[in-house]
């Protein structure tokens, strides 16, 4: 009989976690290059039935986080160093903890003329080295393949890479992804670099708010089941306690 409570509790725990994920999606609805996430919930097939012949008990548990890497809308900003990616590639960034990957192309120059992210980490060229431009040579122009030209001179080429499996990427905060697999990255030839554009997050606000309502209602529903179960208990105790 306790199983009702425990199964309900397992569902409530996944719902709470799901609320956390939805809250993070909504908080980042305006974060450039953010990719929406959803919690994957499964039933636990390994719990055996309580007794032979009894119905199997299936707990609910969270077995992973699905990340939707679909393209976010490109929003025009007019910024010279705002770069949007069209396609499944990533920019490479050199951080203190190693190379990170990002879709957030709101770049700037540092005091040495290097192209850096908002956090100040250098953006890497296709050769894997930081990329510098000389602002006195005129505004830099980025071609669709990432080539940077100033005037008639080519200043370099910004590196855009892709992964065979994007589930190898783990979020690192600050819009960065870390490659935690031993899969290497390859140059992303089909990804276009668009200057003066920023990729918005691909969070669909309507879907997230709907999900929020679903989570909240499901949680209440489970609470009702738990209440019902508790009344059942009370009644059983009262009836069984009566002598006649």
């Amino acid at each position: 009989m306790d199983n009702t409570l425990y199964v309900s509790l397992s569902r409530q725990m996944t719902l709470r976690k799901e609320l956390d994920v939805v809250a993070n999606n909504i908080a980042n609805a305006d974060t450039a290059g953010f990719k929406v996430e959803s919690l994957m919930v499964a039933n636990d097939p390994v719990t055996p039935p309580a007794a032979p012949g009894a119905a199997p008990i299936q707990f609910s548990f969270d077995n992973g986080l699905a990340r939707d890497f679909s393209q976010g809308a490109l929003r025009q900003t007019g910024g010279t160093l705002d770069l949007g990616l069209r396609g499944d590639g990533f920019f490479q960034v050199q951080t203190a903890n190693g190379t990170r990957y990002t879709r957030d192309g709101r770049f700037a120059l540092d005091a040495q003329g290097q192209i850096v992210t908002a956090a100040g980490d250098p953006v890497l060229s296709d050769g894997g080295a930081p990329l510098s431009i000389d602002p006195t040579k005129g505004p830099p122009l980025f071609g669709p393949d990432g080539t940077v030209t100033q005037g008639k001179q080519i200043a370099g080429k910004i590196g855009v890479v892709r992964f065979a499996s994007q589930s190898a990427l783990q979020k690192d905060g600050g819009g960065y992804f870390e490659n935690v697999s031993n899969l290497g990255s390859q140059p992303a030839q089909d990804t276009k670099v668009e200057q003066g554009m920023v990729e918005s997050s691909n969070v669909n606000p309507i879907a997230q708010i709907t999900r929020l309502i679903e989570v909240s209602r499901a949680y209440e529903q489970i609470a009702n089941i738990m209440d019902g179960n508790s009344s059942l208990y009370n009644e059983a105790v009262q009836r069984l306690g009566k002598v006649n």
């Binding site: 409530q12 709470r16 976690k17 609320l19 956390d20 994920v21 939805v22 809250a23 993070n24 909504i26 908080a27 980042n28 609805a29 305006d30 974060t31 450039a32 919690l39 969270d62 992973g64 986080l65 990340r67 900003t77 007019g78 910024g79 010279t80 709101r106 700037a108 120059l109 540092d110 005091a111 040495q112 003329g113 908002a118 956090a119 602002p135 006195t136 040579k137 005129g138 589930s167 190898a168 783990q170 979020k171 690192d172 905060g173 600050g174 819009g175 935690v180 697999s181 606000p205 997230q208 708010i209 929020l212 909240s216 949680y219 209440e220 609470a223 738990m226 209440d227 508790s230 009344s231």
Partner: protein, 262 residues
């Protein structure tokens, strides 16, 4: 309940966004103003199940892992140094800079500040000054009674002095450029100063070595685009509302838990 604090970070970020947008709208008519943009980044993630970890002894690898984010933070407020449009004023002492470069201004503290607002005036000793009365460097004095003040594209100041027929050269403006002009530190009053992020000032003559040109009789309008600011404002307000909806939902779920019968 993490969702509560996550939504709070979202609301704080949108509040900052509205503050930046309102500052842009307030400065829509400020000469030489450059619009700003709040940039947001996601906060750290907590690994509940590491990507790539093994789910059993035979080496099955978890394909996606379970990482839960803790909200959003403001990364920086970036100044978009796009050229503003030119407004004709017909005032001979109004200068607009077309292209890169800043006018240098001597501050009372002795430091040099930089500005794109070229609405200059003459002080009581004939020097060209900004509207706060700070001298523009290099100091150029317009003698009393001089007429037909002409400032060329390359910054050469000429005027006809009383009793003369040919114009005399009074001086030449210089412009300062920076490797990273978005990194200049704002002082207010349209003035900026060098910071560690901007790189040192490179001083040069206008219309040479990539420097911008000067345009007499014009001022540079702010580059704020009213329509895009107002739409950003609406988006920020809606995003704020959505985050507050998350707070309400998290609160409801907590209250459901509290009210459960034991």
């Amino acid at each position: 309940m993490r969702a509560l604090s996550t939504a709070a970070t979202g609301m704080a970020a949108q509040q900052l966004n509205v503050e930046v947008i309102s500052n842009n709208i307030a400065n829509m008519n400020t000469i030489g103003y450059k619009r700003q943009r709040a940039e947001f980044q996601d906060l750290l993630y907590q690994d509940q199940e590491q990507v790539g970890s093994q789910s059993d002894a035979s080496g099955t690898i978890v394909p996606t892992g379970l990482q839960i984010g803790s909200g959003v933070k403001a990364g920086s407020i970036y100044r978009i140094t796009q050229q503003g449009s030119m407004t004709q004023t017909s005032n001979p002492l109004d200068l607009a800079i077309q292209g890169i470069g800043y006018l240098q201004v001597q501050m009372p503290s002795g430091e040099t500040a930089y500005t794109r607002a070229g609405n200059l005036s003459v002080n009581n000793s004939g020097q060209l000054v900004t509207d706060q009365g700070y001298t523009v460097l290099p100091a150029i004095t317009i003698p009393a009674g001089a007429t037909n003040v002409v400032i060329s594209q390359s910054g050469l100041v000429q005027a006809t002095l009383p009793g003369q027929t040919t114009p005399q050269t009074l001086g030449q403006f210089e412009l300062a450029s920076f490797v990273n002009e978005a990194g200049l530190e704002g002082l207010g009053d349209n003035l900026w100063q060098v910071s560690g992020a901007s790189g040192p000032a490179v001083v040069g003559l206008p219309a040479a070595n990539g420097m911008g040109t000067l345009l007499q009789g014009y001022t540079e309008a702010s580059n704020v685009d009213a329509v895009s600011e107002v739409t950003s404002l609406i988006a920020a307000q809606r995003a704020y509302e959505m985050n507050s909806k998350v707070v309400t939902t998290a609160d409801q779920m907590l209250s459901t838990t509290v009210q459960e019968k034991s």
